[in-house]
């Protein structure tokens, strides 16, 4: 098991999450700041307009036409009377001629007519802004009106310097961005520590796996969060099965070497006898070929065992049984064509075997081959799945297996050298597969008259 280097995997999970959250945070706070800033500016502008309108109404309330001009007595708003106070008032006639200006505007050189839009209906207010030489940027409101008993229409204009509101806005902005910045910093820190905390089990897992690699530990610790439990549990099973496989390889190799030595010893004994005095007889040839057959059987058996998948229940995926049996039957029918075997099937649709398809093929192939071999003319195959129970039943109408033989056949050890010459290895391999998947096998007398074999697998719920 080799862990990939971090650099080959691109960004770490923590980096990915931090980057994504960071971008999200900036976008979110930026947008919030922008919206708040805009809302504040709009509300300030609205309040400026309202103030200007109120000043116009105040002016309207006190202004009296007098001859060619207007008389405006002292007003409540003192800023109209102080020079350069920042608040200025003008009254103009419909030709743009200035009829009155407040004391505060005495220093202004600009012509008030610039402040009046031509087509201002009586009762209509126009708001605008302009740049003045004396006071910089200003906001103004002009209001069209007419006086009872006079033909003339007039414009009342009030103008106020922008400086105080600009200062207010900039103060708001700086405090807004200061707090948003602070919030961003705080959230980033919180997010960093939360991620570290949240992803800590993964880091622990990596360290755990490294410990197993170095041999310091046998299995992953059990106390992982639920989300990782499925992975760690399966990993533990995989590690266990890998260890089992290694030990099985060792055992198999040992078995193979030991079990081959006996026939080798027999053959070498025969050869020595022959070379000494006796000539080769048909008896010696028979002895040698018996031993050769035995060796062949041992090798075949161990080969089959080695090919057999060792994953068994780990990472088991469901395999449909019906198609597998439907593949094997025509093949066997071909091989045993002379017997004209009548194979009855009762294969439940969607009955599944949880494991490797090759193991299933091997198991069914061996059992069905035996049935075809030993039957007279009829076999039956039934597969059914009920809940977690899978039953594979194979019957034939042959001689059957004598009851006293059942135990011996079923208990036949896993060691190849216990196989006697002439015994088929199919059943031994089937037994291996069944036990690898935690299944059981039963033997009995079939209703057809011959052997009945039932294989049962129970899956953990």
């Amino acid at each position: 098991m080799v862990l990939q280097k971090k650099s080959e995997q691109g960004y770490s999970l923590q980096k990915r999450l931090l980057l994504a959250f960071g971008i999200l945070l900036i976008l979110f706070l930026g947008l919030a700041g922008f919206v708040l800033d805009r809302a504040f500016k709009e509300s300030v502008a609205a309040s400026v307009e309202e103030r200007l309108q109120l000043q116009i109404y105040a002016l309207l309330g006190v202004a009296e036409p007098e001859g060619e001009g207007f008389f405006v007595p002292d007003m409540e708003e003192a800023r109209f009377s102080q020079i350069d106070s920042g608040l200025y008032g003008f009254i103009l006639d419909s030709n743009g001629r200035e009829l009155w200006r407040s004391m505060s505007a005495l220093n202004f050189r600009m012509r008030a007519s610039a402040l009046v839009r031509n087509a201002l209906e009586p009762g209509e207010t126009f708001f605008g802004s302009l740049e003045t030489e004396e006071q910089g940027p200003m906001s103004y409101a002009s209001y069209g009106t007419f006086w009872p008993n006079q033909d003339e229409e007039f414009s009342f204009v009030v103008m106020e310097t922008v400086a105080p509101t600009a200062a207010e806005i900039s103060e708001f902005q700086s405090s807004l961005w200061f707090w948003l910045g602070g919030l961003a910093l705080l959230l980033s820190l919180a997010q960093y520590y939360l991620l570290r905390w949240g992803l800590f089990p993964l880091q622990r897992l990596a360290e755990d796996v490294a410990r197993i690699e170095s041999g310091a530990s046998d299995a992953l610790e059990p106390n992982y969060p639920t989300e990782l439990r499925a992975v760690t549990d399966n990993l533990n099973l995989l590690i266990k099965s890998e260890r089992e496989r290694q030990s099985r390889y060792r055992t198999t190799l040992g078995d193979l070497a030991h079990s081959l030595k006996t026939p080798l010893a027999v053959i070498s004994g025969i050869v020595q006898q022959v070379s000494a005095d006796k000539p080769v007889t048909s008896g010696t040839i028979k002895d040698v070929s018996e031993q050769l057959e035995r060796m062949d059987q041992i090798v075949s058996y161990q080969l089959k065992r080695a090919v057999k998948s060792n994953h068994a229940r780990i990472l088991a995926k469901p395999v449909q049984i019906k198609p597998v049996i439907e593949k094997i039957l025509p093949a066997l029918n071909k091989v045993y064509r002379d017997k004209e075997v009548n194979a009855n099937t009762a294969l439940m649709e969607n009955a599944r075997f949880f494991g490797d398809e090759k193991d299933l093929m091997e198991l069914c192939g061996n059992l069905l081959d035996n049935a075809f071999k030993y039957c007279r003319s009829e076999i039956s195959v039934a597969v059914s799945e009920q809940g977690n129970r899978l039953v594979l039943a194979i019957d034939d109408d042959g001689e059957g297996i004598p009851e006293q033989e059942h135990k011996r056949v079923l208990e036949r050890g896993a060691r190849a050298d216990t196989l006697k010459s002439g015994q088929g290895i199919g059943l031994a391999v089937s037994m291996d597969i069944i036990s690898a998947y935690g299944g059981t096998i039963e033997m009995g007398k079939s209703a057809l008259g011959g052997a009945s074999i039932r294989v049962l697998f129970e899956r953990e719920p």
């Binding site: 080969l303 071909k334 091989v335 002379d338 004209e340 398809e357 093929m361 091997e362 192939g365 061996n366």
Partner: protein, 232 residues
Amino acid sequence: MRLLIIEDEDLLRAQLVKALRDSGYVVDSALDGREGLYLATENEYAAALVDLGLPGIDGIDLIKKLRQAGRSYPVLILTARDNWTDKVEGLDAGADDYVVKPFQIEEIKARLNALLRRAAGFAKPTLDFAHFSLDTGAKKLFANDVEIELTAYEYKVLEYLMLHPGQVISKTELTEHLYEQDYDRDSNVMEVFIRRLRQKLDPDENLKPIATIRGQGYRFKLPANNGPAKKV
């Protein structure tokens, strides 16, 4: 009977060729998939023995291509891979039987015999016509359970005719299935074999089991007791 053996292992191929020639077959052999497929599709064989692990073209592919090319003669797989996934794949591809290595030559002969017999439509290892019975295992002919002595070539000619009852078999076809390629085919030795067979089978000339079809060849006229009455 002309057989094809496709096997890349030199010693094993030589052993098989020798053993099968000794049992009276005419044998062609190829040592890789490409040459094997060429021979298998160019000629009509009685049967082919195909190793699965071949260089060039894999045995399974070879059998598939052979069947696609319309060749239907029996194919016996020789394989070292003794698992059901491979066996089923091979039989599914169009093979008729398999033998797992290492094998006894006797087993190959028995399987081959059964395949040839089945291909001709006979279910039993003896071919029965009227009171004649040809034992393909022992390679002996009986008339009313009394053995009629035949030479190896006479047996081969009779077996070939009996495996194709009712069919007209040309002299060339008989020669091809009786002799290796380099044999001189111009001899009238086939006529001699047929004449001798007629004398041994039907000395009284009542049955006339082997008919001569002028300009075409020979035909075994008797209907089979246990096989196809008429082969189409």
